[in-house]
C-alpha cells in the first residue's frame, strides 16, 4: 500500500474502533448522567449531554432511605455464596473430567451439555413447586441452591479447560513423591489453577448477580429480594423516579464492573469453554 492509502486505512480503523467504544459506553454514560441530575432539571434538560448542575441526592436517598442497601446485601450474599460454592464444586468436577477416563464420563458430559441446551424458563414452575413446601421460596438459601445448580455445568467445563492446561506429570510426580491423589490435587494442582478459579468465580458471580426471572418467581417478600427484583419493583411503581432508579442502577453496576475487569483476561477462554453462556 502507498503511504496516503495506509494513512486513510489507519484513520478509518481508529474511527471505527471509536464508534464501537462510544456505542458501548453511551448508555452507561447516560445512566450515570441521569443518576446525578437533580429532579428539577431532569425533564427540562432531558437531552442535554450533561446537566448544568449535578447532585448526589439520588444516591443519598437510595443509600439511606430505601431498601436498596438490603437488596444489595442480599444480592451480595447470594452471588458470592453461589460463586464460591460453584467454584469448589466445579473444581472437583472439572478435575475429574480433565484427569480421568471413566465409563460414566460420556454420560456426565452429555447431561451437562443438555442442561445448557434447554430453556431454563421450563424449570420455573416445577422448581417453585418443589422448593415451596421445603420452605426454600422467599429465602436466599433456595436461590443460592438454584443458582449453584444452574452455573455448575458451565463452570465445570471452564475449570476443566484450566486443568487441561496443567501437565499431568505434575501430580504424577507428586504422587511418586508420596502424596495421595487428593493431596496432589490440593497442594500442587489447585495452587496452579488459582487464576482459573478466580476467573470462574468472576463468571459465576456475574451470572448470579444478573439473574432476574428465577429471583422474581421465587422471592416475593422485600426481606429476601435481590437487587434485580428490587430494581424492577421501582419500574412497576406508579411513577418512576428515574434519578433514584439510575442511582440504584449505578450501584448494581459497580460489582459487576469490578469483576469484569478482574476476569477480562479470561473472557476468551471462558466463552469458548461454555459457548452457550450469555
Amino acid at each position: 500500500m502507498t503511504r496516503p492509502k495506509r494513512l486513510v486505512a489507519t484513520v478509518a480503523h481508529r474511527a471505527a474502533i471509536l464508534c464501537y467504544v462510544v456505542f458501548a459506553l453511551f448508555p452507561l454514560f447516560w445512566l450515570l448522567k441521569v443518576s446525578v441530575t437533580p429532579n428539577d432539571l431532569l425533564y427540562s434538560e432531558g437531552v442535554r449531554l450533561w446537566p448544568s448542575r449535578t447532585v448526589f441526592d439520588h444516591f443519598d436517598f437510595v443509600l439511606r432511605h430505601s431498601d436498596f442497601p438490603l437488596f444489595f446485601r442480599n444480592s451480595m450474599i447470594v452471588s458470592l455464596s453461589t460463586a464460591f460454592i460453584v467454584t469448589i464444586l466445579a473444581s472437583l468436577g472439572g478435575y475429574a473430567m480433565s484427569r480421568f477416563t471413566f465409563r460414566g464420563k460420556f454420560w456426565i458430559v452429555g447431561l451437562m451439555l443438555l442442561t445448557q441446551m434447554f430453556p431454563l424458563v421450563m424449570l420455573i414452575a416445577p422448581i417453585f413447586k418443589i422448593l415451596s413446601p421445603l420452605g426454600l421460596t422467599n429465602s436466599l438459601s433456595g436461590l443460592i441452591l438454584v443458582y449453584v445448580a444452574f452455573n455448575v455445568p458451565f463452570a465445570t467445563f471452564l475449570m476443566q479447560s484450566f486443568f487441561d492446561g496443567i501437565p499431568k506429570d505434575l501430580e504424577e510426580a507428586a504422587m511418586i513423591d508420596g502424596a495421595t491423589r487428593f493431596m496432589a490435587f490440593r497442594q500442587i494442582i489447585l495452587p496452579l489453577t488459582l487464576p482459573g478459579m478466580a476467573a470462574t468465580l468472576g463468571f459465576v458471580f456475574t451470572a448470579a448477580w444478573s439473574e432476574l426471572l428465577f429471583a422474581l418467581m421465587l422471592i416475593s417478600g422485600v426481606d429476601a429480594s435481590t437487587f434485580p427484583v428490587g430494581l424492577l419493583s421501582f419500574v412497576s411503581k406508579f411513577s418512576v423516579d428515574f434519578g433514584q432508579m439510575m442511582a440504584a442502577g449505578v450501584l448494581a453496576l459497580i460489582p459487576a464492573c469490578l469483576f469484569f475487569f478482574f476476569i477480562q483476561r479470561y473472557l476468551v477462554q471462558g466463552l469458548t469453554a461454555g459457548a452457550v453462556k450469555g
Binding site: A16, W30, L31, L253, V276
Partner: protein, 289 residues
C-alpha cells in the same frame, strides 16, 4: 481407584440432577396436568388439553412469530457487528487492551440493568433517542419506540444487540487469533489482496466457530426473556411477547404452571427441530464439498 472420578464429580452431579433434571421431568408432566398454583383442586391429568388450547391461542402464535423476528434480527446484528469488532481488534494498535475492555464492557452489565438502561434511553422524557430520531426525520413526533404498535420490538432488539456484540466479538476474536500468522504472510507473498486473504484464509478458518456459535446463540436468544420482561413486559398488546416471555408471564403472573409447561415443551420441541435441521444442513453441506 475406579470410583475416584465419581467422588470428585458427585456433588456437582447430585445438584444438577435434583435441581435441573428432576424439575425438568416434573415440568414435562405438568404439561399434561391442570396445574394452577392458587387452586387447591388442580393437579388432575388432562391429557393434551393444554396443547389443544395452545393451537387456538392467538397470543401464542403471535409470540412465536415475534420469537422468530426477535431471534433472527438479534442474532444477525450481533453476529455482524461482533465480527466487524473482532476483525478491528485483531490488529495490534496502541491502546488495544483498553479499547477491547471498553468494547466488551456491555457484556458485564447485568441484563436487567441493560433493559432498564435502554428503556430509559428510549423514553422521550429522560432519554435522547426519540429526540434524535425526530431530528433525523425518522419519527413524526418524539415518541417512545417501546410503545409503538409496529416497531416496539426494535427496542429490545437494539438493547440485545448492544449487550450481545461482545459475546460474538470475544468468541470470534479467539478464533481469529488461533489462525497461524504465517498463513497470511505466505498468502501476502503469493500476492493475495487483503480481501482475498480474508476470503481464502480468515473465513474458512472461522467457519466452524461461526456455525457452532450462531447455532448455540440462536437457541440461547430464543430463550432469553429478561430484556423483554424488563423493557416492555410483552406489550404493547403482546407486540413484543416472545414465547419465552409468554411462558414466564403464564407462570409468574397467571400462576398457570400447567399451561406454562406445555408452552415450554412446544418451545423445546421447536428448538430441537431447529438444532437438528442445522446439524443436518451442515452435514449435507460438508458432504457436498
Amino acid at each position: 481407584m475406579a470410583s475416584e472420578p465419581y467422588l470428585y464429580s458427585a456433588p456437582a452431579l447430585i445438584l444438577i440432577v435434583t435441581v435441573m433434571l428432576v424439575p425438568l421431568v416434573i415440568g414435562i408432566s405438568y404439561a399434561f396436568r391442570d396445574m394452577t398454583l392458587l387452586d387447591p383442586f388442580s393437579g388432575g391429568f388432562i391429557g393434551l388439553d393444554h396443547f389443544r388450547a395452545i393451537a387456538k391461542d392467538k397470543t401464542f402464535w403471535l409470540a412465536l412469530k415475534n420469537t422468530v423476528y426477535w431471534t433472527g434480527y438479534s442474532v444477525a446484528l450481533q453476529f455482524l457487528f461482533g465480527l466487524i469488532l473482532a476483525l478491528l481488534l485483531d490488529k495490534p494498535f496502541y491502546g488495544r487492551g483498553l479499547a477491547q475492555a471498553l468494547c466488551f464492557l456491555p457484556w458485564a452489565v447485568p441484563s436487567f440493568l441493560s433493559g432498564l438502561n435502554w428503556a430509559m434511553l428510549f423514553n422521550p422524557v429522560v432519554g435522547p433517542i426519540p429526540h434524535w430520531l425526530y431530528g433525523l426525520g425518522l419519527m413524526s413526533a418524539p415518541d417512545n419506540l417501546l410503545s409503538s404498535p409496529t416497531h416496539a420490538m426494535w427496542g429490545p432488539i437494539i438493547a440485545n444487540v448492544w449487550w450481545g456484540i461482545p459475546f460474538f466479538a470475544i468468541t470470534l476474536l479467539a478464533a481469529l487469533q488461533s489462525i497461524p500468522r504465517d498463513l497470511y504472510e505466505a498468502a501476502a507473498i503469493d500476492g493475495a489482496t487483503p480481501f482475498q486473504r480474508f476470503r481464502s484464509i480468515t473465513l474458512p478458518f472461522l467457519a466452524p466457530t461461526i456455525a457452532i456459535t450462531v447455532m448455540l446463540r440462536t437457541v440461547w436468544i430464543a430463550n432469553f426473556a429478561d430484556l423483554i420482561v424488563v423493557m416492555t413486559n410483552g406489550g404493547p398488546a403482546d407486540r413484543t411477547q416472545i414465547v419465552a416471555s409468554y411462558i414466564f408471564t403464564q407462570a409468574f403472573r397467571r400462576l398457570d404452571f400447567g399451561y406454562a409447561s406445555a408452552i415450554a415443551m412446544v418451545l423445546l420441541a421447536l428448538l430441537l427441530v431447529y438444532s437438528m435441521l442445522i446439524v443436518l444442513l451442515r452435514q449435507t453441506l460438508l458432504r457436498e464439498r
